[in-house]
Amino acid sequence: MVKVLGNKATRFGFGEGLVELGKKDNKIFVLGADTVSSVAINEFQNNFPDRFANVGIAETNLLGMAAGLAVAGFTPFVSTYGVFASGRPWEQIRTTICYSNLNVKIGGSHSGLMVGPDGATHQALEEIAIMRCLPNMTVLVPCDVVETKKATMSAAYYDGPVYIRYGRESIPVITEESTPFEIGKAVKMRDGKDVCIAACGSMVYEALVAAEILEKEGIKARVLNIHTIKPIDEQAIISAAKDCGAIVTAEEHQIYGGFGSAVSEVVVKSCPVPMEFVAVNDTFGESGSPADLMVKYGLKDINIVNAVKKVLKRK
């Protein structure tokens, strides 16, 4: 059985991380855009009202103001739903923030299909692709609430712009305070030499469950939690390719340009091995319960198991 320590939404890790940062660092400034409670930055607002601003439903100004606050010497964190934190103000992020290499940290909440009943408009499935292509940008996709808190606190002292992707729905807690976290360094959650399952975000848990299913069938899978999509841990991926000879990636994101693409860029360059991709297959989501959506769009443990069996035939 996969060791599950609880069930909690990753957005609360972001919110808790900000409060801890706010206590010890008066340069931390948080900006919201009318979604303050739902993205869990209301505790920061309550504790540090002087270092908080709600800019209303105005995401281009959200990122523009954050840029100005960074110029003024603050470390601004902004947060709203991922679609509106990454897509709407993309050019401000590119030209104003990344080109100037400003210390702006962007919290993209409500990522993935698990936003559920709100449907496709609010299901952010493209942020990894559109953020990782930007020079100077760092992209983090933590796997649970504990890791999201660590990612948030690390981002504050990591130079330059950082995008942190997390979600609204409760998901299993699979890491502990003592689990190592370092930006740019993948975490080996389970070892094996037959195949490597590289996953990020909510799919790390699914990967661990898949590895257990596979073990019963005699297949030993390595599971990598690659929480940093950029800069990606090339060494961990190359080692996995060499040791396992086949890789399956898993992400709650579009198949093109995202996490799987990032892993494959390393693999084809340094150690080509067969790969399969578990992701949303170039389509929009729809309304439904998070659980139903993950099944319908092929983002469950069983989909990873099937992908492993497929890739092993080509090994």
Partner: protein, 274 residues
């Protein structure tokens, strides 16, 4: 600095703009020439800005929202001594600190942030001004925008935010030269009555002739006395000001003069001082 000196400096800044654009072979003379007096007076008479320690924490901030007119900013920064005049000759050339649009990463003294995609500067200014208020510092923040730029929706998010946050340390300037790439602003997409729009959003609005140094000087001074709301200076200007064949011709928005045109323009500017 008195108005005679400022007038002379304005003339030499105009000449530097034209010379650097000629040497670059491309760039934006029209909107650079329309903003000369606005920047010359600002940097010489109003901004707290130390050329020898330009990142001093007590400095006033300037954001060039209409980044394509950076030749006027580069010329003024060089005039106040931020870097040698010879460096103006590197404009738009490979390896230069003087990029075609202002670039923070090139570390040219006086460039606070990269700009050039229109409609972004006012939000940046709102953020800096909010930061200064949070720090209880008195630094002022200046943002120069174009009139065509007012067509960008993102400007209006910032126009709404600045009075909401009571940013009386923020002074926006609109260089209303009336022209944009495709023609007259009023024909492409009318922005007027621009002063009334800012008033309706809660700004202190000052309307001036953007080439009249006395009016400009008085406007910056008045803006400093206003409490509780941001100020916008709506400056009526002439695109291509100071060069007869460029004035009010939208074709000179983004085209460098050739040698003959440069010589004619420089001569006109010299004669204007006599």
């Amino acid at each position: 600095m008195d108005f005679t000196d400022l007038k002379n400096i304005s003339a030499s800044v105009r000449k530097e703009i034209l010379s650097m654009l000629y040497k670059a072979g491309s760039g934006h003379p029209g909107g650079s020439l329309s903003a000369v007096e606005l920047l010359v007076d600002l940097y010489n008479n109003h901004m707290n800005f130390n050329k020898d320690n330009w990142q001093d924490k007590n400095r006033d901030y300037f954001v060039l929202s209409k980044g394509h007119v950076c030749p006027v900013l580069y010329a003024v920064l060089s005039q106040i001594g931020c870097f040698p005049k010879e460096e103006l000759d590197t404009l738009r050339k490979i390896g230069s600190r003087l990029q075609g649009h202002p670039a923070k990463d090139k570390k040219l003294p006086g460039i606070e942030i990269s700009t050039g995609s229109l409609g972004y500067g006012l939000s940046i200014g709102v953020g800096i001004a909010k930061g200064m208020k949070t720090l209880n510092q008195n630094n002022r923040v200046y943002v120069l925008m174009g009139d065509g730029e007012q067509q960008e929706g993102s400007i209006w998010e910032a126009v709404m935010a600045a009075p909401h946050f009571k940013l009386d340390n923020l002074c926006a300037i609109i260089d209303c030269n009336g022209l944009q790439i495709d023609g007259k602003v009023e024909d492409v997409l009318n922005i007027n009555p621009i002063a009334d729009k800012y008033k309706a959003f809660g700004w202190n609005v000052i309307e001036i002739d953007g080439h009249n140094l006395k009016e400009i000087d008085a406007a910056y001074a008045q803006a400093k006395t206003v409490k509780g709301v941001p100020t916008v200076i709506v400056a009526k200007t002439v695109k291509g000001k100071g060069v007869s064949f460029m004035e009010n011709v939208y074709g000179w928005h983004g085209k460098a003069p050739n040698k003959e045109q440069l010589e004619k323009a420089l001569k006109e500017i010299d004669e204007s001082l006599k």
